[in-house]
């Protein structure tokens, strides 16, 4: 199951923690100290063989050096102040031939937390290469064993031939201490603003910062030292409350940044806090929407999640190889798969959109292949897949979309998706058509979905091919008057082909949604998503899972702080 989530709060770092003073502001690693032991062990590794078996035909070493920190505050006080440095070594060994080797779609190499001294790194490279080779030989035999019963209708190569790359990018500049100091002041001030809203039960202002450098060395001659694929920094504001009936309501805003100066001004951030609080207040007073099928407008963010789930994941190249996957689009190259007024592109080379640095941007993928702009669907016609070095019928080469986190084997993934509308209309026109559709179908109202917490989508045939998108704000739009009413309690669900087919118009308001992290078999990777708002002739809204809890018995202590008596319900009965 592939998951798309907003870069979630509260996900613990999975790496070892070090004390702050150990981290120095300048990037401490010299490239040659990483590559020297790698080159030495790679030369030895290529000659290793178990009797009766061939030596590896391919070796790759990938090392990711990470410096990261996280600072959180809640209602005015720091709740978290962590920093860490870690180093992850990942090794891939292939035996056999490109036509048939030890890998299959579940393949993973070996990884460890590596030491930073050159000698210890060399020892780890030696032992891990040994392990990886032995398991590659075992994997090769296991694969041959499976083929004794499995029928392979379309034999495909296991590894594409690519040109090797040598590249050295600049080292990251990490001003960790300086930035930490600024966050320790800013975040309590921002989070304290939530105290003015007694109905906010939980809230946080959190910043995550990550600098990393990735080293890739392959036996084919690729040698890359460059920034790792990640979102450098993101400031999150989040809050939750419960409606009078106990339903949980969340609000979330994120501000990705590369340099401190990318962040909005403090005034703008305070306004964002207030906006979240207002959204929660509006939400808890909103009526519960029963399940319904109706015409729906998706704003640009929801549209981008729809395309991510219903189309993007299903165009990942490797999924076309495995009959366990849904393979909806496998044989449809050259055929119409979405309405012809739309195109779908993935462009990891796009660095900046409307002045904002795009988080799905990278120069080389995790296999060292240069990033490429790929038109996946052109005017409705399927043209291409998201290719890693797993070949697919008719697509023998990578197009620079082999992505992974530091621990996993790369597979074809999205970078920055772009939904292009060829006959765009204004948002006002979209809404006019929504109401027209409602009237034609005899529906009293349609819906407007704004913003998304993420989506979810099964990729295996075993599961029914339905997917869902959880909107942040849902408005009911009256067909007769156009009046908007905020409602709550539903999500959008559907089957992918039907939903995409029902996009009857798209807006001229393309925007970048920049704070999503995509999770799939090869780990969590940041993605950029550019899309306009769209009108669906019909979509099904289903109830969200019930998470009901009695609201607090006593009112918020901050009521007293504001000089009100505890039994004063405050404006609109807030408690």
């Amino acid at each position: 199951m592939a998951l798309l989530r907003r870069a979630a709060l509260g996900v613990p770092f999975a790496m070892a923690l070090l004390l702050l003073p150990a981290i120095s502001p300048a990037w401490p690693v010299v490239d040659s100290e990483v590559f020297r032991p790698m080159e030495a062990e790679m030369a030895r590794g290529l000659g290793m063989r178990k009797e009766g078996f061939d030596p590896p035909y391919f070796l790759a070493y990938r090392l990711t050096d990470i410096r990261a920190m996280e600072v959180s505050a809640s209602f005015g006080a720091i709740t978290d102040d962590d920093a860490q440095e870690s180093r992850v070594l990942y090794i891939e060994v292939r035996v056999g031939t490109r036509t048939l080797d030890n890998t299959d779609l579940g393949f993973q190499g070996w990884h460890v937390s590596a030491g930073d001294a050159s000698e210890s790194l060399r020892t780890q490279l030696w032992t891990l290469t040994d392990k990886a080779y032995k398991s590659a030989v075992a994997g090769y035999l296991e694969k041959k064993a499976k083929r004794a019963t499995e029928f392979i209708a379309e034999p495909l190569d296991d590894f594409s031939v690519e040109v090797s790359t040598v590249f050295t990018g600049p080292s990251p500049r990490s001003d960790l201490q300086g930035e930490r100091g600024r966050l320790l002041e800013l975040l309590p001030r921002l989070s304290a603003v939530f105290r003015e809203y007694p109905y906010v039960y939980e809230s946080q202002a959190t910043a995550r910062r990550r600098w990393s450098r990735r080293y890739l060395l392959t036996s084919e001659g690729t040698r890359i030292a460059a920034e790792g694929s990640h979102v450098p920094g993101v400031l999150h504001l989040s809050a939750m409350t419960r409606a009078p009936d106990g339903m949980r309501l969340d609000a979330l805003a994120g501000f990705p940044y590369r340099e401190w100066g990318d962040l909005p001004s403090e005034e703008a951030l305070v306004e964002a806090v207030r906006r979240l609080a207002r959204q929660l207040d509006e939400g808890r007073m909103a009526p519960v929407q029963p399940p319904m099928a109706a015409p729906v407008i998706l704003d640009s963010e929801v549209t981008s999640v729809l395309f991510h789930e219903a189309l993007g994941h299903k165009l990942e190249g490797q999924r076309q190889r495995d009959p366990a996957h849904s393979q909806i689009f496998k044989d449809l190259v050259g055929k119409r798969v979405i309405p012809e007024h739309l195109s779908f592109i993935d462009d990891p080379t796009l660095a900046v959109f409307q002045g904002t640095p795009v988080n799905g941007h990278y120069l080389f993928d995790e296999e060292g292949v240069p990033a490429q702009r790929v038109t996946l669907v052109d005017h409705g016609i399927l043209k291409n897949f998201l290719m890693s070095r797993w070949p697919v019928k008719g697509f023998p080469n990578s197009n620079g979309h082999g992505r992974a986190d530091a621990y996993r084997h790369p597979t074809g993934r999205m970078g920055t998706i772009i939904v292009v509308a060829h006959r765009p209309v204004s948002p006002a026109e979209l809404e006019r058509r929504l109401r027209e559709l409602c009237r034609a179908k005899g529906k009293p109202y349609g819906f407007l979905l704004v913003g998304s917490f993420g989506g979810e989508n099964p990729n295996l045939r075993r599961a029914a091919q339905t997917f869902e998108v959880s909107p942040r704000l849902i408005y009911r739009v009256d067909a007769a008057t156009g009046a908007r009413t905020r409602v709550r309690g539903v999500k959008m669900a559907g089957t992918p082909l039907v939903l995409l087919d029902r996009i009857v118009a798209a807006g001229d308001d393309a925007q970048l949604s920049n704070e999503f992290v995509c999770g799939a078999e090869s780990g969590r990777v940041p993605v950029g998503q550019i899309a306009p708002s769209v009108l669906l002739s019909e979509a099904e809204l289903q109830r969200i899972p019930e998470d009901r809890s009695v609201p607090p018995l006593l009112p918020s202590p901050f009521l007293e702080e504001r000089g009100r008596k505890p039994d004063d319900p405050g404006p609109r009965g807030e408690r």
């Binding site: 499995e150 045939r461 029914a464 089957t495 969200i544 899972p545 019930e546």
Partner: protein
């Protein structure tokens, strides 16, 4: 990838849950007074079930089910499996608290509540079994009640929460268990001879016929004076065959006969006919094309419509409206349109037959001893009612006799005979005309014709998307231009229920009966439907190499 626990899989896995206690079969003609006595003794004693500091029961119900099952599996005209099983299951329903709030599970009861006891009539052995059973049931009822109170403290009362137990008049109906009526040898002959018919296709990878005759004698008693006896029999004959296409994908077909009485059994000619049809369908499927999935308007035959109707039926159970982890798709929709206005859906357990064909979901009393009643669920598209056990729903304080479940489980609002009828119908021919018209209107090259239900599964929890997936034996692409039908294979049909139900364009004029098992036997009477959109999905199939040698030569 985790599958939700609430995923209801009904892939025609009809066999009733059996306790791990097996015994050889024998006719049981003895009067079962010892069981009656044991039940009434222990029910009378249940008033004393009270632990210090815990509330006593306010109601105790007890259901005894005598079960007898005879199973055969035959391959190529020979038996490969035979089992005769007999057991007796006692299921207590002990309530503590009050009818306003008691220990009934929040939402859908799903745990096994029954236990097997000796099926021989020895008063002490039975009372001993009952004594232990009731003691354990009381203790867990007390614990469940406290946990439910605890949940109420943190979760609060939902707007749809309501009483937990409806007040009903104690019915009395005695009926001596009917031990005759079935020609067991005839069922065995159908198994043997039916499977022999597959010898004409020796190249099949797999072909077998299984038969099962299950008989249940129920006695329902409670502390309010209810005493109801009834029987529930079901015979099933299932045929399955598997072949392999040239691309290594297996093609499988199945066929099934269900009967609640001897008279409903098929003749040998009918079974052999089904085998011939399966072989012909397999031969066609083996050379049929595969296609990439697409979405399109579709004509669904009555058996496919039956799967959709049953999935609507299970969502209309009273428990489902109050199930916090269910989809609650119909909650708050009473009196509003939920289906095309040409359609009406009724559940009628009192209906014995449809066009002379006996129905399977017919019963006089449900598992809680309440008489089965005809219920209008959806009238001209408007939601009117629910399938109710004694677990009421706001606005519906009484059971309507649909508390059904397999032996050992607590009753849940469950369909009996679901009847979908259409106010306006068109001929089959016209249905396809309308399909092509719809295709042209939407500029689609192909539509679908989905026939002969193979199985279906649905997810019915809010943790997942609410979806229905149907495996049909025959799926045809219907060309918009010419109307030409092309058989395709290894594709399932998926849809989301609301969208499907609201987008029914036309109904056929010939209704048919489809028998299904959803824990208990259910019949669905439905016409063909033209729907505006379903989506195809590749079925789960892993290519395999075909057999290396040809099949052995047939002797006949």
């Amino acid at each position: 990838m985790s599958l939700s626990a609430a995923l209801v899989v009904l892939f025609f896995s009809g066999s009733f849950p059996f306790f791990p206690l097996h015994a050889s079969a024998g006719p049981s003609a003895l009067p079962q007074d010892a069981l009656d006595s044991a039940m009434s003794f222990e029910l009378a004693r249940s008033g004393g079930l009270k632990d210090e500091g815990y509330p006593p029961p306010y109601y105790v119900g007890l259901a005894a089910t005598d079960l007898e099952t005879k199973e055969r599996v035959c391959v190529m005209g020979r038996e490969r499996y035979a089992a005769d099983r007999r057991q007796r299951i006692l299921t207590p329903d002990i309530r503590v608290g009050s009818p306003g709030m008691d220990n009934h599970p929040v939402g859908m009861p799903s745990d096994m509540a029954g236990r097997s006891v000796p099926f021989e009539n020895d008063l002490f052995a039975l009372r001993h079994g009952l004594w232990r059973l009731m003691d354990l049931a009381y203790k867990s009822a007390s614990a469940d009640y406290l946990r439910k109170q605890a949940l109420r403290v943190s979760r609060g009362k939902a707007e749809y929460d309501f009483d937990d137990f409806s007040r009903e008049a104690p019915n009395r109906s005695a009926r001596a268990p009917d031990r005759g009526g079935w020609d067991r040898e005839r069922i065995e002959r159908l198994c043997l001879e039916g499977s022999r018919a597959f010898r004409k296709a020796p190249g099949l990878l797999h072909a077998e016929v299984s038969t099962a005759l299950s008989r249940e004698d129920w006695r329902v008693r409670d502390t309010e004076g209810l005493s109801v006896d009834f029987s529930r029999d079901i015979a099933e004959i299932e045929l399955e065959a598997v072949d392999i296409a040239t691309d290594g994908l297996k093609v499988a077909v199945n066929s099934r006969f269900l009967a609640a009485a001897e008279i409903g059994l098929p003749g040998l000619g009918e079974v052999e006919g089904a085998v011939r049809e399966m072989m012909a369908d397999l031969a066609a499927l083996k050379v049929a094309v595969t296609t990439s999935p697409f979405d399109a308007p579709a004509v669904l035959d009555p058996s496919i419509v039956a799967a959709v109707v049953l999935s609507v039926g299970t969502r209309l159970s009273g428990e489902e409206q109050r199930n916090p982890s269910g989809t609650q798709v119909f909650r708050d929709k009473l009196g509003t349109p939920v289906l095309s206005p040409i359609l009406t859906l009724v559940d009628d357990p009192t209906l014995v037959s449809f066009r002379n064909r006996p129905l399977l979901g017919t019963y006089a009393f449900d598992n809680q001893g309440i008489p089965g009643q005809r219920v209008v669920l959806i009238e001209r598209g408007i939601l009117k009612g629910f399938l109710l056990s004694r677990y009421p729903v706001i606005g519906f304080p009484r059971s309507n006799g649909h508390g059904r479940r397999a032996p050992g489980y607590l009753a849940v609002g469950t369909p009996g005979n679901l009847i979908l009828s259409a106010r306006e119908t068109v001929s089959e021919e016209k249905l396809f005309e309308l399909l092509r018209k719809e295709l042209k209107r939407r500029d689609k090259p192909y539509g679908l014709w989905v026939r002969k239900l193979g199985g279906f599964s649905q997810s019915q929890s809010t943790g997942r998307q609410d979806a229905l997936r149907v495996s049909a034996r025959l799926v045809y692409m219907v060309e918009a231009k010419t109307g030409k039908k092309t058989l395709v294979r290894n594709l399932d049909v998926v849809c989301t229920p609301l969208t499907l139900m609201e987008n029914i364009l036309a109904a056929g004029d010939r209704s048919e009966v489809t028998d299904l098992v959803a824990g208990v036997p259910v019949s669905v009477v439905a016409p063909s439907l033209l729907v505006s959109g379903v989506e195809l999905q590749r079925s789960e199939a892993k290519p395999e190499k075909a057999p290396i040698l040809p099949p052995p030569p047939a002797e006949e």
